[in-house]
Amino acid sequence: MIMDDLILRMALGGLGVALVAGPLGVFVVWRRMAYFGAALAHSALLGVALGLFFEVNMVFAVLAVALAVALILSAFEDSPVLSTDTVLGILAHGSLALGLVVVTFMEGDPQLDLEAILFGNILAVSQEDILLIYGGGAAVLGVMAMIWRPLLSLTVHPELARVEGVAVERVRLVFLLLLAFMVALAVKIVGLLLLVSLLIIPAASARSFVRTPGGMVVLATVLGCVSVGAGLWGAFVFHMPSGPSIVLAAMALFGLSIFASRVAK
């Protein structure tokens, strides 16, 4: 009975994250924000450490740090002297280093499992986490639906979007905040090192088979769910950490998609 409950929790948590990752992931690909996602994910270590220190739920602590990093990044977005790329590099590694230092100070804390933070440990997902994933995920998807057209418009051409009345800065900031939410929700499942791949690989696999932006969102989400399902099964059966297992499943699907699109031509 306990086993069934665990499997159900794993599946629910994984699928919840995959559902949110689909719509966000395609925009990460279209807007070339892979590195941005990685920077947010790296900052999660600091969040986990601070969460343990202040004894608050990890999801909230990670969310707080990721939001702070997203805000700092957006403040630097139009810097006249530094490219976004450079600012990202500084923030990603700065927050990772800070997180590692805090973790070192807390050595000996039985709750601290560095490996689980880096690579994900779906076994640690609690009922509370599931509620957070679905509640937060629904909120993220709701906001995504609201900003869909302006976000797509500014992705295609920011100046044209602005002339047509899109509040470009605001929509861009909202999307960054949604990504920060996504990181907080997903870090327990895939781990911070591999988090970005859950956003990018399903979207990349979907590209050759779709003709519209909406179609790409749907297919990327489906492929993400399949990857999570297959990956969790692997993690469970072969006692692997859940993150690498999910990413490997996504990679396998990506390979298949390349093969299928070649054959189709």
């Binding site: 690909v29 295609v156 100046e159 602005r162 002339v163 779709v210 003709r211």
Partner: protein, 462 residues
């Protein structure tokens, strides 16, 4: 009946039985297609009938609209294919300046005379005059020009409208109601020329200065665009043209100076570049919808207007340079703008396509009466399509009528007479640049550059 008898007289009398015209035309078309072994399908026949039933040239969109209300509802591509077929068979003609079609009076005869387009009743007449055709052909061959298409379109007033005194009374034209163009499409050729009527001021910048990191990109630039006017910004690379456009669009705040935009001004913007990520699948219809909610019908209509109706479901990534420009223009037009701002509207388009695009822009201005501000690299290609030119090199060097600017000393200093002369090679549509060819002007008149337009030295057209 003889092959060359026109189906209807050149200027039909008020009382003529139009139904007979239509019947005759359809019978003739069927006969011709049978002879040639071409298939006049139901749809093709129906489209031909609709064109003939209308008293005015009919646009493709209006055809689609009227088909919608019949049982023979056809998909748009089918209708366009039918139009292509009818054109290829010489059963209909396309009136370029109206973007519309008329039935051919004498199918089977390859020649077609000049079209007389009445600006009052909107009807088109074909002037069958063998002598005129011969004269045109002869004139062209005299200068060694090989004619491939001899379509001439003249606009004016037909005898019937002249007799009727051109009053608002449209008793005669009213009978053409059945296939009339959509109500909101404005009458062509009615845009007032800016010189005649003082039109609404759309935007005005005054003393605008922009500094980038201590680098003065624009210094004290003033410029205004009014309704119905085409203003072209011209200048070398780095002259600040795009910066000025950004100030006018409200994308950039000037360091100094004021910007006025008419209250409620609707802007249509066509950017210089569009770089899509390869991973973004985007059909043209979805791209157009990004500008605001638009029905598929509205998209059809606007794509038809820019001459690209077949692109609606094509992916943006596969468009050619010219197609992309047309789609960008369509997105700007969908907003029903008061002012169109076009940044390098012909970039990435070959020379022939450039002339087409500039003609299209003038037509759009004529149909919508909007103001147009565009940026261009070279004056000579845009000359015929613009009312006023502003030559910019961080400040306004000179501005005014294109002819005057092309001979202004500051313009020549900026581009050099050599460059200006090279450019003039492409251009057959303007006639006063001869002072840039040393051989046309008498020696010593090189300094005529500062002359007023219209005072050009007399020259021989040989």
């Amino acid at each position: 009946m003889s092959e060359n008898t026109p189906i209807r007289p050149s200027f039909p009398q008020t009382g003529h039985d139009h139904g007979v015209c239509v019947e005759t035309a359809l019978a003739r078309a069927e006969e011709l297609c049978r002879e040639r072994g071409a298939r006049l399908t139901e749809t093709r026949r129906h489209v031909l009938e609709l064109i003939w039933r209308s008293h005015e040239p009919v646009g493709a969109y209006a055809l689609l609209e009227s088909l919608r209300h019949t049982k023979r509802r056809a998909a748009a591509p089918t209708v366009y294919r039918a139009l292509d077929f009818l054109m290829a068979q010489g059963l209909i003609h396309r009136i370029e300046s109206l973007n519309a079609y008329v039935g051919c009076d004498h199918p089977g005869d390859t020649a077609h005379g000049p079209f007389l387009l009445c600006t009052s009743c909107g009807q088109a007449f074909e002037l069958m005059d063998g002598d005129l055709d011969a004269a045109v052909e002869e004139g062209a061959s005299k200068v060694g020009f090989a004619v491939s298409d001899r379509t001439v379109e003249l606009s004016g007033i037909c005898p019937r409208c002249r007799l009727a005194g051109l009053s608002d009374d449209e008793a005669e034209g009213g009978e053409a109601g059945d296939e009339a163009a959509p109500a909101d499409s404005p009458e062509p050729f009615t845009a007032p020329s800016p010189a005649e009527t003082p039109s609404r001021l759309l935007v005005e910048v005054d003393g605008v200065t922009v500094d980038f990191a201590g680098n003065k990109v624009l210094g004290g630039v003033s410029l205004a665009v009014r309704e119905g006017e085409i203003v072209t910004l011209i200048g070398p690379n780095g002259a600040g043209k795009t910066t000025l456009v950004q100030v006018i669009l409200g994308l950039l705040r000037p360091s100094r100076g004021s910007v006025f935009r008419a209250p409620g001004l609707r802007l249509g913007y066509m950017p210089q570049r569009l770089e899509l990520d390869r991973a973004l699948p985007l059909p043209v219809s979805h791209f157009l919808a990004l500008g605001g909610p638009a029905s598929r019908d509205a998209m059809w209509r606007v794509l038809d207007e820019v001459g690209a109706p077949h692109l609606l479901d094509r992916p943006m990534a596969g468009l050619s340079g010219g197609e992309l420009r047309r789609v960008l223009l369509a997105r700007a037009l969908l907003r029903n703008p008061d002012l169109l701002v076009l940044d390098e509207p012909v970039q990435g388009v070959d020379v022939v396509g450039q002339a087409d695009l500039y003609r299209l822009i003038s037509q759009v201005r004529n149909r919508h009466g909007c103001g147009v501000l565009m940026v261009s690299h070279d004056l000579h290609v845009v000359m015929s399509a613009t009312d006023r030119v502003v030559c910019l090199n961080n400040h306004v060097c000179c501005s005014g009528h294109p002819e005057a600017v092309s001979r202004h000393p500051e313009y020549l200093a900026l581009f050099g007479p050599q460059v200006a002369g090279d450019m003039a090679v492409y251009t057959h549509h303007h006639d006063h640049s001869h002072d840039m060819h040393g051989d046309v002007l008498p020696p010593g008149s090189e300094n005529s550059a500062g002359n007023e337009p219209g005072k050009a030295a007399p020259h021989d057209h040989g």
